[in-house]
């Protein structure tokens, strides 16, 4: 089409420049959001110096990265489930199961096969979630809630309430050791973020998940095996949650049956704050990582403020809201538009 070979040459010339102006805008909306999330985290860290002079230091950054590692791993799986338009409420129980299996059956000697098997068990549970959603048509919310309750009961039965045993060496190494002055888990998290980003944004699987999330029916018609593909994120999410359980075991040398509870909402929030739509089909894992770091940073700074918990909570909620307002997509495009007009 661009090689115009018409006899009305003058008209073609007249509109040649119009073609140029209609070129792709080149601004990736996701990118803007991601940069903004990280920038906001950085600003928060820098501003936290006003709260306490020890904040804003390299050490604080390492603490934040270590603490956010749990959320980052967890929200990768949650993000994939949200990507296909689902929601995984079973993560708390899978965190527990992962941790329990690692402490109850794992020891220094057998960790090399017990931990992978435990992760497979978790993935299998996730697959059951996926099967319920895909085959039986149960809303993800209910299916994962139900399996969460079920798995929690099973964990209770398995342990009689008290998970015994200690952390296998390898998990303690992951969570506690330092290498070149930087915690090993920080290297791990960086690697995980890169791999996660590739899986979600660059692989064929990721592409199919986006398609399903945007338009399930169209994905089916386009020849995607929607049933199988849609179940995969649930398995990944369960495995991720199980691995978070193991990380927690390594972090504090032991498991409890409620250690996953505090990760449910933050896990979802990290995904959404990172720019993904809760309705599926959009977002990037890099954004989610940013969301997780932002939430953890916020927690660190808030806990250093010398106010009553009530006021601190109010500040925390307000900062989340302000961040969301600042991160709005149309705010950026709005600004762009205004510049154009001016």
């Amino acid at each position: 089409m661009n090689q115009t070979t018409g006899n009305d040459g003058s008209a073609t010339d007249t509109f040649a420049h119009v073609e140029d102006r209609r070129a792709s805008s080149g601004i990736d909306r996701d990118l803007v959001n991601i940069v903004a999330v990280f920038a906001l985290s950085a600003v928060l860290i820098l501003c936290s110096r006003f709260v306490s002079p020890a904040l804003g230091s390299w050490n604080q950054v390492l603490t934040i990265l270590t603490l956010s590692s749990f959320l980052i791993v967890l929200s990768f799986g949650q993000g994939l489930v949200i990507l296909v338009g689902g929601l995984d409420l079973s993560t708390p129980s899978l965190v527990v199961i992962g941790g329990v299996l690692a402490t109850v059956y794992g020891s220094d000697g057998n960790a090399f096969y017990v931990l992978p098997i435990a992760l497979c068990v978790c993935a299998l549970i996730g697959l059951v979630n996926g099967a319920g959603v895909v085959i039986l048509g149960i809303p993800p919310f209910i299916m994962t809630l139900a399996s969460s309750i079920f798995v929690a009961s099973a964990a209770l039965g398995l342990t009689g309430g008290t998970p015994r045993g200690n952390s296998p060496e390898i998990l303690a190494f992951l969570m506690k050791e330092r290498w070149l002055g930087i915690p090993v888990v920080v290297y791990f998290v960086v690697l995980f973020a890169i791999v996660g980003w590739i899986v979600q944004s660059r692989t064929t699987l990721g592409r199919r998940l986006y398609a399903i999330g945007v338009n399930r029916e169209a994905a089916r018609i386009a020849g995607i095996d929607v049933g199988l593909t849609e179940a995969i994120p649930y398995a990944i999410s369960a495995a991720c949650a199980g691995f978070v359980g193991m990380m927690l075991v390594g972090y504090s040398d032991g498991a409890t049956l409620r250690m996953g509870d505090s990760y449910l909402l933050p896990g979802i929030a990290a995904v959404v704050i990172g720019g993904s739509s809760i309705l599926g089909g959009s977002g990037s894992f890099v954004g989610t990582v940013g969301g997780a770091i932002l939430l953890t940073t916020l927690g660190t700074v808030i806990s250093a403020i010398g106010l009553d918990q009530g006021y601190r909570t109010i500040i925390e909620g307000s900062i989340i809201l302000v961040a969301l307002v600042l991160l709005r997509e149309d705010l950026f495009s709005g600004l762009r538009l205004r510049n154009r007009k001016a």
Binding site: D8, F15, V18, S24, T204
Partner: protein, 511 residues
């Protein structure tokens, strides 16, 4: 001539940009009262955008409009409606979970007591509107259960019920195979003094109903012409800035070989009634039918989207148990399906055009599961050329593309799958005149290379010029099959209205 009488609607220097995309630039148009005015242009020329500006959906960056002499700057769709301006949108604007009556009366339903609306009066009002515009739909039916053509009609009727001064119809016939009903309505509106802005890529249609046409190209209004005084070539030149390609109007020869690649026997579904036919290698097989005669079911059941009750489908001589489009792609030489509804079954709105195209075969542009962007771009680019889609659209979100360009991308998707059998449901819907020729050309090339195509079209001329054989569906059954020169409008129409069938045959045909 047009300046002589007072214009009913007038736009001057209207411009609108989406980010870096200039959709409209300095567009001017004027329509007289009681005039049916055509808006012509290539896919992506800016027609729908102009429509949205006129209808108060988007605000123009620059420019002025007036309505019967008074300045007109609608701030919302309701504002436009209040001025008597209404649109039937290209991408339908109906709510599928609400009933016909509710859709017709939105956003304010007739009131009963205490601020509540009255169901009875809503139905009554809707029935009146439906009767006034001769559309026999059940007002209480949920719109989601209507067929696409019926939805299109409902969209049109809704516009008619509000558009007293300016009525805008954006590709109203895209999924209608029968236009008489619409033309009667337009004629009535015209007589009542309503200005009508009519958008269509079917030039013959435009000529039969419009007096003048404004041509848009790349977002600019090129000229307004009297249709009587402009031949197709002239219009085409104005639209694309070059002369028309040589149109191929003769049938391509007989299929090279006579081996059946797809054979369907006694296919029966809720709607189809023992349908049997064969598709040969290198063949273009057309399906002609009025709306709702089972063509949708036929295509969908072939790829496993509709349950088969009985009957078998064989690909390459082997019985294929196809349960999903994926299965269809994988069976034998592969069957790819182009669905009917662009918005709900076709596009992935937030993905790029290139991703939309490569999706079914994204594995082919990936190594070790990781998609290579350059290979994706190249692969998509090649196919984009085949369907005449400008490569610059490839990195855009597909939702930012015009309707016709979206359709091209979807067609490209089926080509990209590598399947040797294409099942195309109305492939050229909303595609501009020039591109249609390119697509016909591509289809012919595809079959000449040994591929086979089964296609349905709402445009009879398309079938007559393209198909080597043609099946006519009526009441869920194949009532006739034509071949070669017998494929001719008169014959087809005769078979399509089922004059050889008793009326009982239509039972269950309409879902």
């Amino acid at each position: 001539m047009s300046e002589a009488r007072m214009a009913s609607v007038e736009c001057r220097g209207v411009s609108k940009s989406y980010g870096a995309t200039v959709a409209l630039e300095d567009v001017s148009i004027s329509i007289g009262p009681g005039e049916v005015h055509a808006l012509l242009g290539e896919n992506g020329a800016g027609k729908s955008t102009l429509v949205k500006v006129l209808g108060g959906v988007v605000e123009p960056d620059r420019g002025t409009m007036s309505l019967t002499g008074e300045p007109y700057a609608p701030s919302s769709i309701l504002g436009a409606r209040r001025c008597g301006v209404a649109i039937a949108f290209q991408e339908l604007s109906l709510l599928q979970n609400l009933t016909v009556a509710e859709n017709l009366c939105l956003p304010k339903l007739p009131a009963a007591k205490a601020g509540l609306f009255s169901r009875g009066r809503t139905i009554e009002k809707a029935s009146q509107i439906l009767a006034r515009f001769d559309l026999p739909l059940d007002p209480e039916e949920a719109v989601g259960r209507l067929s696409l053509p019926d939805r299109q009609r409902l969209e049109i009727v809704r516009a008619f019920s509000h558009g007293t001064r300016l009525l805008i119809l954006d590709e109203p016939t895209a999924s209608l195979s029968d236009v008489d009903w619409l033309f009667r309505l337009i004629e009535n509106a015209r007589k009542a003094g309503t200005a009508v802005l009519y958008i269509s890529h079917r030039l013959a249609e435009v000529r039969s109903i419009c007096s003048r046409a404004t041509v848009l190209r790349n977002g600019r209004s090129i000229d307004t012409v009297d249709l009587a005084g402009a031949d197709d070539n002239r219009i085409f030149e104005m639209m694309v800035g070059r002369s028309a390609k040589k149109t191929l109007s003769t049938h391509a020869g007989k299929p090279k070989s006579s081996g059946a690649v797809l054979s369907v026997s006694d296919l029966t579904t809720d709607i189809l009634d023992s349908v049997s036919f064969e598709l040969k290698e290198g063949e273009i097989l057309g399906v002609a039918a009025l709306e709702g005669q089972g063509q949708r079911d036929l295509f969908r059941s072939l790829v496993g989207l509709e349950k088969r009750r009985s009957g078998s489908i064989s690909v390459d001589g082997k019985v294929a148990d196809i349960r999903s489009p994926k299965g269809a792609l994988a069976s034998g030489r592969g069957m790819a399906f182009l669905p009917e509804e662009r918005k709900t079954e076709g596009i992935f709105a937030s993905l790029t055009t290139a991703s939309n195209m490569t999706l079914p075969v994204v594995g082919n542009v990936a190594s070790f599961g990781v998609v290579s962007r350059s290979r994706e771009r190249d692969a998509a680019g090649e196919t984009a050329d085949v369907v005449d889609l400008a490569r610059r659209y490839l990195p855009f979100r597909i939702s930012d593309l015009s309707g016709g360009n979206q359709q091209k991308a979807l067609l490209a998707r089926t080509v990209m799958t590598g399947a040797r059998i294409l099942l195309l449901f109305d492939p050229t819907r909303g595609v501009d005149v020039g591109t249609k020729q390119s697509i016909y050309e591509a289809i012919r090339q595809f079959t000449e290379d040994g591929g086979s195509v089964l296609f349905y079209s709402s445009e009879l001329p398309e079938i007559t010029s393209l198909a080597q054989r043609c099946l006519v569906l009526y009441g869920g059954r194949i009532v006739e099959a034509f071949e070669g020169d017998a494929i001719e409008e008169q014959n087809l129409v005769g078979a399509m209205i089922g004059h050889r069938e008793d009326s009982a045959a239509s039972k269950g045909a309409y879902s």
